[in-house]
């Protein structure tokens, strides 16, 4: 996965799946229909501000709550390239990997980063912000395989000989 740079949006702790995409909108037909309601209860303006390649930086327990896979899908559909958080809720974590959304655990960047600034990510190695490097871990192999396949659907397609 190559190095990338994006504009930062800063969120707090315990950003739950109902904030990321409220239940009310889950029956909309497509993720594209849903994306305008991303983060609606907390920051309804976000979908209009986020552009392709932007990065979300959040606190603890990002994605806690329900198993709705629309949460990572909506974040991805908004153009977000990765979410950096102190920690992630486990179902959200699995769903993100399975949809090819990169998640990075880091607990230092939150203290310094400001919304609107740019930040660079070297996957598996470090985050660079204002000339300072912040170390990040890498994923276990089985997860990296899924990410490299572009998500679980592609991984299964490969398994079934479709690609």
């Amino acid at each position: 996965m190559a190095t990338f740079t994006g504009k930062v949006f800063v969120l707090g702790d315990d950003i739950d799946t109902d904030i990321i995409i409220p239940t009310e909108y889950l029956a909309l037909k497509t993720i594209d229909d849903m994306r305008q309601y991303g983060f609606y209860p907390l920051r309804p303006e976000l979908p209009s501000l986020i552009s392709k390649g932007d990065i979300i930086v959040a606190g603890n327990n990002f994605g806690c709550g329900s198993s709705r896979e629309q949460a990572p899908e909506v974040i991805k559909a908004l153009g977000v390239s990765c979410v950096i958080a102190k920690s992630f809720a486990r179902i959200f974590y699995r769903n993100s990997i399975n949809n090819g959304l990169l998640l990075i655990e880091n607990s230092d960047i939150q203290d310094v980063v400001k919304e609107g600034d740019e930040l660079t990510v070297i996957p598996g190695q470090e985050i660079r912000y204002k000339g300072v490097s912040y170390k990040i871990g890498s994923l276990p192999d089985n997860l990296m395989d899924i990410l490299n396949d572009g998500g679980l659907v592609n991984a299964m397609k490969k398994r079934n000989g479709l690609i």
Binding site: Y40, S67, N98, M156
Partner: protein
């Protein structure tokens, strides 16, 4: 050294007694559950992945509950897609209006002790109440399981929670689990299993255990487990032995953390807006005026919950201008409540009695609120905007606290 309950369950599944916390293993689920919100996505992904046939139709259960009855015109598309998929695959375990998935799975014995069960809903953790390892996954992974019959998991570490002693009157298992979540915080058990033991737990009904297991996800846990006993065996219709998944407690596992609680120390508590771990004693919240009370959900919509509320409401009326909404967890809970005279009590008290289903808990209908309104609810989440606008105040509490609050018109223990 002994093993934790989660290790025992996974070892049984993978036929390998060396498996321990931290290992990544592929398990073969004994059952999977898909609910209405996600069935179209599961079906689409399943086909997109190139699968033709579900690995084992008997192991698949489809349940409609979040959208029953439909409240938006597109909702019924989910029923049609679910029906189509069930027909195409020959899936016979389909429940279209029988109640909440997490009530039906243990009630109808789809999830029994020692089983590994995955569901497309985060509260799939509920079946830990009967000693099954069950947890929520996304629809893509579900589609993958339907095709392959397996899923990778990391064997979780265990937080052991011992509770001993006798609970005070008016304190329920809901108060216990809320307090524990408050102590651990909403992320305190992330990736981990919670294992409950002690004589207080042994005294509890299966229903009370299901309530606690249900909410372990609110501490981030992968599952919340109870050792099966005579009550579990009877409830699940299995013999009480290890061969049938009823594992005994070594109390000697390699625990990541051990918490000891005295039952006498628990008091009625509530999770305050808008975090599940923002726990305060109800006594400190008294006089908070309320607009609505909700009794129901996979956390507290079972017969014992309705009974407890009815006992308080008998011969009384819901406070003027306050709505009490009662949503039984399943068709059989509803019928039992009719037969026991509980529905009569609710109706005479002025409650609004809904059909079995998720109702207000999933925030799509069933009593949505608006800015400045306050609700006491027995369900599992009080997230911002969960039951209406982001300016609704949601207090999570036990059915006892909920019923008392409905009568008083303010939060009351």
């Amino acid at each position: 050294m002994g093993a934790t309950l989660i290790e025992k369950i996974i070892r049984r599944n993978v036929h390998d007694d060396s498996v321990k916390a931290g290992d990544i293993v592929f398990v073969k689920p004994d059952r999977v559950m898909i609910h209405d919100i996600f069935i179209p996505f599961v079906a689409d992904k399943f086909h997109e992945m190139g699968f033709k046939k579900v690995w084992d139709t008997d192991k698949v259960v489809i349940i409609y509950d979040h959208m029953v009855p439909a409240s938006q015109v597109d909702d019924t598309r989910h029923f049609r897609r679910g029906d189509e998929f069930a027909k195409e695959q020959g899936i016979e375990h389909i429940h279209r209006a029988d109640g909440i998935c997490h009530q039906l799975m243990p009630e109808l014995r789809y999830a029994t002790p020692g089983d590994i069960v995955f569901g497309t809903d985060s509260h799939t953790v509920t079946y830990g109440g009967v000693g099954a390892f069950s947890t929520g996954i996304g629809y893509t992974e579900m589609a993958g399981i339907l095709g392959t019959g397996e899923l990778w998991i990391k064997v979780p570490e265990t937080i052991r929670i011992n509770i001993n002693g006798k609970l005070r009157d008016g304190v329920t298992s809901k108060d216990i689990i809320l307090r524990i979540i408050g102590d651990l915080t909403a992320a305190g058990a992330t990736y981990k299993a919670m294992e409950f033991a002690g004589d207080t737990v042994k005294e509890m009904s299966v229903a009370s255990r299901l309530t606690m297991a249900n909410m372990t996800i609110e501490a981030g846990a992968k599952c919340g487990l109870f050792y099966p006993d005579e009550k579990t065996a009877e409830f699940s219709g299995v013999p009480l032995d290890e061969e049938h998944g009823c594992f005994t407690d070594d109390n000697d596992g390699d625990y990541a953390m051990v918490l000891d609680y005295k039952a006498e120390d628990f008091v009625p508590v509530a999770a305050c807006p808008s975090q599940v771990d923002k726990i305060r004693p109800v006594s400190e919240l008294k006089d908070i005026v309320i607009d609505q009370v909700f009794i129901g959900s996979c956390t507290n919509g079972r017969l014992e919950d309705l009974r407890a509320a009815a006992e308080i409401l008998k011969g009384k009326k819901v406070a003027p201008y306050v709505k009490l909404i009662v949503t039984p967890a399943s068709r059989s809970v509803y019928l039992d409540a009719v037969h026991e005279g509980i529905m009569k009590i609710f109706n005479e008290a002025g409650a609004i009695i809904m059909n079995p289903g998720c109702g207000l808990c999933c925030g799509r209908s069933g009593g949505i609120l608006t800015d400045g309104e306050t609700v006491v609810a027995t369900n599992n989440r009080n997230f911002l905007g969960r039951m209406g606008t982001s300016k609704v105040n949601i207090y999570l509490a036990s059915p006892v606290t909920a019923a008392k609050s409905a009568v008083a018109g303010k939060i009351t223990a």
